[in-house]
């Protein structure tokens, strides 16, 4: 495979999420209000835990995708706000459960809910948010949207279990890794984008275009996330270089370095990841090997590949500010690593 260096293409250099933010600003304010209202409960611990995570400064890319995807097909009602909120709740529930599963203490530089309120509250408040998400979808009343989002919920959980079962196994292939990120990340991006045209009653071609856009954007997004964990200069990443390494997560930079390595280097990876020796010294050596085999650039190259598919998925749709903003998000997602 060739090395693709997307940043050499000067025209995409300053891609930004700002056009998408601006276009969805008014609707996102309603989403944020609905988030607060639907995370409310007489049981005090629920809004406490939920708001801890909700206010922790994520970009809320997923609900913006839903809003933009509905508006670009001319949708004028209220349902896109409810579905966007459902999507964000599904994402938040996943994060709460992920932190329990990964035994994480930090997320975006803040203590995770489980370290403050315990694993119990994280599991149960996650369940509550998932329940609230489904109630909002039911309230919208579109069986097609319900089908897409409930299927995504199953697929995400299935992907997380798959990730558990390949954990710390250095024989994980790139295909295995892709199956995991397709399920645990890209499926929700795809569903978030697809429900837009669904409630706008767009035709099948419009639905498929947005679904494919979301799926491939999600893959590119996760690939870049996994590359950033071993480098990059993104200041606002909120996680430290080497977090995945210390958790023994098998991501593409590791897979490529392992498979391209010498026998000794493969022994190193097995010792570091499978046996869990993630000392600072071993992290430094891992970074050297990743550099040696160009594994970060090639991980970003894969992201560019999926970004291109996402771009082509939208190609047949008429030009509009929404389309332009969604296309720019592809470049933005990839250029985070710069």
């Amino acid at each position: 495979m060739g090395v693709v260096v997307p940043l050499e293409e000067g025209k995409k250099k300053s891609a930004s999420v700002k056009p998408l933010v601006d276009l969805t600003k008014a609707d996102m304010e309603r989403v944020n209000q609905l988030i607060l209202s639907k995370a409310g409960s007489d049981v005090q611990m629920i809004p406490e835990v939920a708001n801890h995570l909700i206010s922790s400064g994520g970009k809320r890319l997923r609900p913006m995708l839903t809003l933009a995807a509905a508006s670009m097909f001319g949708y004028k009602g209220d349902s896109h706000v409810k579905l966007a909120t459902s999507v964000e709740f599904m994402h938040t529930a996943t994060l709460l459960h992920d932190d329990v599963v990964d035994e994480s203490d930090l997320r975006r530089g803040k203590s995770t809910a489980r370290t403050i309120w315990g694993n119990q509250a994280s599991v149960l408040v996650g369940d509550f948010l998932l329940g609230q998400a489904f109630r909002m979808m039911v309230d919208v009343g579109s069986l097609d949207a319900l089908d897409v989002l409930s299927t995504a919920a199953s697929v995400i959980a299935e992907g997380e279990v798959l990730q558990l079962s390949v954990a710390k196994n250095m024989e994980t292939t790139e295909d295995d890794y892709l199956s995991v990120i397709r399920a645990k990340t890209a499926a929700l991006f795809a569903a978030a984008a697809e429900v837009g045209p669904i409630i706008a009653q767009a035709d099948k071609a419009g639905r498929n275009a947005l679904k494919s856009y979301g799926m491939n954007l999600g893959l590119a997004f996760q690939l870049v996330d996994d590359a950033l964990d071993y480098g990059g200069t993104a200041a606002d990443l909120g996680k430290n270089v080497g977090d995945d390494f210390r958790e023994g997560k098998i991501t593409l930079p590791v897979i490529l370095s392992y498979r391209r390595g010498t026998t000794e280097e493969r022994d190193f990876w097995r010792n570091a990841i499978e046996a869990g020796d993630s000392s600072e010294q071993n992290l430094q050596h891992a970074l050297e090997l990743i550099q040696k085999y160009d594994a970060l650039n090639d991980t970003i190259g894969r992201a560019v590949h999926y970004g291109t598919i996402a771009r082509d998925a939208l190609a047949p749709l008429p030009a509009s500010p929404y389309k332009a903003a969604l296309l720019e998000v592809i470049d933005f997602s990839i250029q985070r690593v710069s």
Copy 2:
């Protein structure tokens, strides 16, 4: 409040779940097949974990309620089988998450999934089953049934969080306790029963009758469960006397004994439950106090109270074998403690 001893009424003495089992036998075979098929996944750990719990010998009372409640209104289609399976999956997902939350090692005398596959798998397979439950509901296509079941999912999770926040607090009132069991147990019984008339397109009166029946049956069921934990002779309970005591759970036998006790006795309860001194000696003393204040009989008295409400809820409906079987389940649920 008076002491009600239901077993003095000889006519109800031999109440059984058998009529309900017999009436739903053919449909339950289809439910069991659907359970196996929808708990399936290419990710091997999913059916392993799911089948461990599914095959562990619960009575499957909840799906039988759905089947009977649909059939008593003349329902002839397939959707009741899908909804009954959804209900059982919601219940199974709750058990998987509960065992993580309670850090339980045994359920019905068998190792819990979390002790075999870890907390991670229990959380994630629970999420998967919940996702599959929603997919089946969506497949049925009744927005009313979706509304009832998705609301129940939120309420159950909310009840579990409420239970967390009253845990080990001896000032918990009977009302607090009722709020917990109404949400975490009775809400699913109510939903399981209500979706029967919904898909049978029964009128609002029929829906309300079954909902009220399910809610009050669920309260009676949980009250008896909590009484059984401090006595009773039910051989097939699959849990040991004093499990709740050892976990510091505040149930009605404890609440009544505490509130009726002397200052010294209240100190004892606080030490045992709040400070966690659940030695065998303390369990014996707790059993003596429960006996002294007639707290088990009065807990069962409350169950009889809700059982009566459940019975009256069905009273206006025409006589049928289904109605008779559902009424007998009320007595059966209460007579488990004998």
